[in-house]
């Protein structure tokens, strides 16, 4: 640990001691969360690794971690958004100077976004976006349909991937926008899931408008901008995933054995084998994540992180199957009167969210075999032809 880290740590600690009231969980100067975030931004803690000209302090990696840790210790929000704030990071990396000045503070201050990427015709093939953004003077006019958007109702802005050039190949005709979500041309409809939940939405854009200044990156750079945004997202998920997964393992280990006890099947040797295998898959994944973190901490890149989502599919489907067996006939029931059944039914259906959502198991296997194992990439029949000519458009 270097001196500069110690120095920063002391500075943050002192600053927090002065401004943050750990007992009330609020800033000492009365005010809203937004006011507190303004404080944090002004002090340079919101994005410590960014240059001073851009709300930061030009700190290194370790110093930034120290800042984040001090904030975390006292439960104060707002620090280290240079690591996890997706829109702010996208704008910082790709946005125009004007866009940076205008919008980054908004996002550092907590403006919410939803992701307008997927479409009915662009699921696994995310680049097959058909939502169009046509330039009309200072604005783009956007028409199309997005799906699997979560948090659309709470969002201030949408991160929008739309097609601005129909003659370029699939990946090259896309642009990335930050579009205000509350406007006449945007309609949000919940999607009914097979679980009974409605966590996601369809978003219909019908001549919605977004200022040309809200384009992030150049026209045609949209794919690259989105990939970067996705990478930030994966990083956040990856960092949190280990703990969350271990946490849920603990819960589940208890519950499989508990359910077996409840249903008086704990002594069934056949079911014990299946309980063991289900718990093992979960624990092996947790051990993989721990090891991958150790390896990454030692500086060697670890391929294991990319396995977690695929492994989790097997775990979740497997758990649900074993629980169903344990419940037996009672698994046919549902609703509040039958909480165990309702739980396992939900798990059975919801496991598909992991095995399909955010890249199906099949797409994950492609990614692992290509990026980790170096096997040849899938050929894409329409990768190089004008999008206008592709089957996505012509059918």
């Amino acid at each position: 640990m270097t001196d500069s880290v110690d120095e920063i740590r002391k500075e943050v600690r002192d600053w927090l001691a002065e401004h943050w009231d750990a007992e009330t969980g609020k800033g000492r100067s009365a005010g809203s969360v937004r006011d507190w975030l303004d404080h944090v931004i002004a002090a340079g803690w919101a994005a410590p690794s960014w240059p001073a000209a851009y709300w930061g302090r030009g700190l290194g990696k370790e110093e930034t971690s120290a800042v984040i840790n001090e904030f975390r210790k006292v439960g104060a929000p707002g620090a280290g958004q240079d690591r996890g704030n997706i829109p702010a990071n996208s704008i910082m990396q790709f946005g125009s100077e004007a866009l940076k000045r205008r919008m980054i503070p908004e996002f550092l201050r907590g403006a919410q976004v939803c992701l307008l990427y997927s479409e009915p015709g662009a699921g696994s093939d995310l680049a097959a976006v058909q939502t169009r953004a046509d330039r009309k003077g200072d604005v783009y006019v956007v028409t199309g349909q997005k799906v699997w958007t979560s948090g659309a109702h709470k969002a201030d802005y949408g991160l929008l991937l739309a097609r601005t050039d129909w003659d370029a190949p699939k990946h090259d005709g896309l642009s990335f926008f930050i579009i205000p979500i509350r406007q006449a041309g945007i309609e949000i409809r919940p999607i009914n899931q097979i679980t009974g939940d409605s966590h996601f939405n369809e978003v219909f854009l019908d001549n919605a408008e977004v200022a040309a200044d809200n384009r992030v990156g150049e026209e045609g750079q949209g794919w690259k901008v989105m990939q970067t945004a996705l990478a930030v997202e994966r990083l956040i998920m990856g960092e949190g995933a280990g703990e969350r997964r271990q946490g849920s393992m603990k819960d589940n280990v208890v519950s499989l054995i508990d359910i077996a006890r409840e249903t008086r099947k704990i002594g069934d040797p056949v079911l014990r084998q299946e309980i063991a295998q289900a718990m093992a898959y979960r624990q092996l994944n947790a051990l993989n994540i721990i090891r991958s973190k150790q390896e990454m901490a030692q500086g060697s890149s670890s391929p294991i992180m990319s396995l977690g989502k695929l492994a989790m599919s097997r775990i979740l489907h497997g758990d649900a199957a074993v629980m169903t067996k344990l419940l037996g006939a009672a698994s046919m029931l549902d609703a509040d009167a039958n909480p165990r059944a309702a739980d396992v039914n939900y798990r059975t259906a919801n496991a598909f969210m992991t095995s399909i959502g955010g890249g199906t198991d099949q797409i994950q296997r492609n990614i692992i075999s290509e990026r980790v194992l170096g096997l040849p990439r899938e050929t894409e029949a329409d990768r190089t032809i004008p999008f206008r000519e592709s089957r996505a458009v012509k059918g």
Partner: protein, 370 residues
């Protein structure tokens, strides 16, 4: 039991399929699912008019006098369409029990009405554990005056919420027997259960000194025979449902385009499809072989019925789940039919017994043969 000619059976099945495609579309299934009873009386009437409810009823009681082969065959269509309602309950399980009884009066009185669809009968034969075995019977019957008095719990009683008549399997001092009980009489408290698959309805019934009329000549063996009939019918349902959701999936693979081509061109999906086809064909073969063995009372009847019971349940479960995976996001929506098949597959996998139990019985039957 007469075996219907293949041609005649083909015609009945085709007519039933036509009826279902008209009156039991996905939209209709969803509509009925959402009703309180989960039963469509007008569809039931049409099914009965086609003779489907009469298939297993002997000719002398106004039925067609066909057997498991014919029932299995039409159940493939019922499964494909996810038919809701009391078909298995009344036309298979209750009919099987009554036909095998020695009680002329009961047969005379009830079977013609079951055959015509006028009477819907439901069979109560397992307790809260849902075992569908003799040990699982939790209702007891004791003589009281000229009749019998029933006490205890029966649960997972299929379609009891729409039944005109309950057949209650109960323990007596002389072994297992079966009793005719009117749903409305004193001492019968029927509680409909919430189900995950809303096309199937169960009730939990508390008997509290309820009056029952003993049905002559029903013992454990007769109950097991009726359950075997139901298992074969269910196997047919599972085979037919597997094939339908598989076909839906293959069609989708041919039309859904991603990465510039139909996703059915991707090897991963092609191989999943090939593996599922084995399951679908195996389920069909198993269900039909079990039906034939039961119809002819073949020496390997137990082997084949137990095989069909777990093979068809497992196949349907695997096909329905994999179908969702192969569809991707669209099948994660309520509006897509795939989850309806998954729900039915999970429920069917519990009805009348679980796969592990059937595997155990299958080995035992094989051991006897070996």
């Amino acid at each position: 039991m007469t075996m219907i000619e293949a041609e005649e059976l083909g015609a009945i099945r085709a007519g039933f399929a036509r009826l279902l495609s008209e009156k039991c579309s996905e939209a209709e299934v969803r509509r009925v699912m959402a009703t309180e009873s989960g039963h469509d009386p007008s569809l039931w009437k049409a099914i009965a008019e086609m003779g489907i409810t009469a298939l297993l009823v002997p000719e002398e009681h106004g039925g067609i006098g066909a057997g498991p082969v014919e029932m299995e065959s039409v159940m493939e269509e019922a499964g494909a369409a996810l038919l809701a309602g009391p078909l298995i309950s009344s036309a298979v399980l209750a009919t099987g029990l009554l036909s095998a009884s020695s009680d002329a009066d009961v047969k005379e009185r009830i079977l013609p009405a079951i055959a015509s669809g006028e009477t819907i009968a439901s069979v109560a034969l397992t307790g809260d554990e849902g075992l569908w075995t003799p040990e699982g019977v939790e209702v007891t019957a004791a003589r009281q005056g000229n009749g019998w008095s029933l006490n205890g719990i029966a649960s997972f009683v299929l379609s009891a919420n729409v039944a005109d008549l309950l057949l209650v399997v109960a323990r007596t001092s002389e072994g297992v027997g079966c009793f005719e009980v009117a749903p409305g009489v004193k001492g019968v408290q029927l509680q409909p259960l919430e189900t995950w698959d809303r096309t199937l309805r169960f009730s939990r019934i508390a008997f509290n000194g309820a009056e029952g009329r003993a049905i002559g000549g029903i013992d454990e063996q007769v109950v097991e025979h009726a359950l075997d009939l139901a298992r074969v019918a269910l196997a047919g349902e599972q085979a037919g449902a597997s094939r339908r959701i598989f076909d839906i999936t293959i069609d989708y693979l041919k039309t859904r385009v991603q990465f510039g081509r139909p996703i059915g061109g991707f090897q991963a999906l092609k191989h999943m499809a090939a593996d599922l086809l084995i399951e679908v064909e195996s389920a069909t073969s198993a269900a039909r072989a079990a039906a034939q063995a039961l119809a002819s009372n073949a020496p390997d009847k137990d082997v084949l019925i137990n095989l069909a019971a777990f093979a068809c349940a497992d196949a349907f479960g695997q096909v329905a789940a994999t179908a969702i995976q192969m569809h991707g996001g669209i099948a994660f929506t309520w509006e897509h039919p795939a989850h309806l098949y998954l729900r039915r597959a999970r429920a069917d996998a519990q009805l009348f017994g679980q796969s592990d139990m059937y595997r155990e019985r299958y080995v035992a039957a094989m051991e006897k043969a070996a």
